[in-house]
Symmetry: C2
């Protein structure tokens, strides 16, 4: 096969189509993460921001604005805003999870300390807030304020739902929206708003980001129990941390007494023994919980693709559609 | 003396004059700290919010709005906003400082865990953001976004300046603005903005809050080395934590070789021995550093009072003036 004809991944095609805008976003991120007086801030931020994240969220904003015909400057502010919010939540997450690695590198809380991660995260939230105020759009501010509250509430909910075997699919979905989908849907929606898109298109952009984020997170949670390896985390992390993810919730609903005792010990009490991850995988497979979770991810990806129907015919729209396929490709 | 004629403290007189508004603020705080899905959030928040803090910041906003003649509803949103921002920073501060006590009660990070304090702090920031968006004033949003950035930058600066004997008074002032004065000045300024006050009054309100906050913080830093006892912290805390506060910066400027070696060991390296706090106090007294710091606090309080000259003649203005005297009363 001729290498030149290998189709690039949708993410790379988006990056290529938006390369001029992304250069402006990266320049704005570098400029705004600076602090004349506290050099610790750009040090910590650069460690994370320049570690080669995929910049998926800012690309969603740029793509949404461009495919709705935007020609002004503020999609760049909003793309930098969502990347700052994302980076701030990563800094706080790593403190909360006591993580040692992120994107293949030691975490900021390990290289510096938890204190720096908490405070630099706060600084990036404040900077993101300044950036969005500069757009002058109260509606954009409203959407991002609500997304921020959903994100923080989802994180607390995840914390208090851990090791709780009574966790429902409804709570799981709420956690997933907080962890991932709320920022995805805000990222796409504000792109449409700043472009002055009609309401139907704004709603479609929100629905796309929401479904894409949910599909993305379900895939991540599924890969914790196998298939190919998960990216950026070790298999079994969620299991050992007692997270009630979709496969486990579904297997619990069909558990016999023995299995229930197993989940209560390993997830509920966190007493994990050798061979437990393999036993968990076997139970999940026996009840079809892996397969049904896989199907849910595919359904959400299909919902994301369908939402795009209300948007203008545009090369970027096709790339967003392909992106929805791509996030579930690892489990297809 | 007849008890009924004892003049109430200015803080209590403000609370009394603003009691209707404060009841509305307290109701809004209770309503907005709720989370249907994550009960941990109101638990942690209530622990701190209902611990009997003085509600000084929301009262500043209410007083500013009222003395500028405001009759609308949004001063209540803004007062709740500044209290939420303050509470969020307290939650994060207690994690950063590894504090065990706050307002005479165990801290949230001790009662629950650091994780809850970080995430509930983030939630309260997001809630404060929603509240201010509801006012519909981009200028208010701009001021509070800038204050948030100054607060976070000041916290990081304090962290990196700790144990650094080269810290200047300029850096100290920047830390103090971040810790205290940025939220005080934003609190008074947004009260004027929402009331539609003329520019000269808005500037005066900002200047008052800024100077009041600086005076307040200098007094707190001075009391760490004696006089009467500091409120809410133990004498010598700053010394043991290696904070470069104004008395130490001024004593360092006049230190002989022996004294410099002492500060380098105790503050620079954090090797504090028995009797060191007393020795530090003696050195500070010898160079007049306590007296000159005291004078600086009085000067800032005078600046605060003078700023009020541009504001309308009003009973609340007189109470704000008395409040400026009151914050330095502990050292007068």
């Amino acid at each position: 096969m001729d290498l030149a004809t290998v189709p690039a991944k949708p993410h790379d095609r988006l990056a290529s189509a938006l390369s001029g805008d992304m250069a402006a976003v990266n320049a704005m991120i570098r400029e705004r993460m600076a602090s004349e007086h506290a050099p610790r801030i750009p040090e910590v931020t650069a460690h994370l921001v320049e570690a080669g994240g995929k910049r998926l969220r800012p690309m969603l904003t740029l793509a949404a604005a461009r495919l709705c015909g935007y020609g002004g400057p503020y999609h760049v502010h909003l793309a930098a805003t969502v990347e700052f919010i994302h980076t701030a939540t990563l800094l706080h997450d790593d403190v909360v999870d006591d993580s040692k690695q992120r994107r293949g590198r030691p975490t900021a809380n390990l290289l510096w300390d938890n204190t720096s991660s908490v405070l630099v995260g706060d600084y990036l939230f404040a900077r993101s807030f300044q950036l969005m105020v500069e757009t002058g759009s109260l509606r954009v501010l409203d959407i991002l304020a609500n997304a921020s509250a959903t994100i923080a509430e989802g994180e607390v909910l995840q914390l208090t739902a851990a090791r709780n075997l009574a966790t429902t699919e409804d709570t799981y979905l709420r956690v997933v929206r907080g962890k991932t989908a709320a920022l995805f849907s805000a990222a796409t929606e504000v792109g449409g708003i700043i472009a002055g898109a009609p309401e139907a298109q704004v709603r479609a952009l929100h629905a796309y980001g929401d479904a894409l984020g949910i599909a993305f997170q379900i895939v991540d949670d599924l890969l914790d129990y196998g298939g190919t390896e998960a990216i950026g985390k070790s298999r079994g992390d969620d299991f050992r941390e007692g997270k009630l993810t979709l496969p486990v919730i579904r297997a619990l609903a069909r558990a016999d007494a023995d299995e229930r005792a197993f989940w209560a010990r390993a997830i509920g009490k966190g007493r994990v023994e050798d061979g437990d991850l393999e036993r968990a995988q076997a139970i999940l497979a026996r009840h079809g919980a892996l397969e049904s979770t896989r199907q849910s991810a595919l359904d959400w990806a299909a919902t994301a693709r369908r939402s795009l129907g209300a948007l203008p015919d545009h090369a970027l729209r096709d790339m967003l559609s392909d992106l929805a396929d791509y996030v579930v490709e690892r489990i297809s």
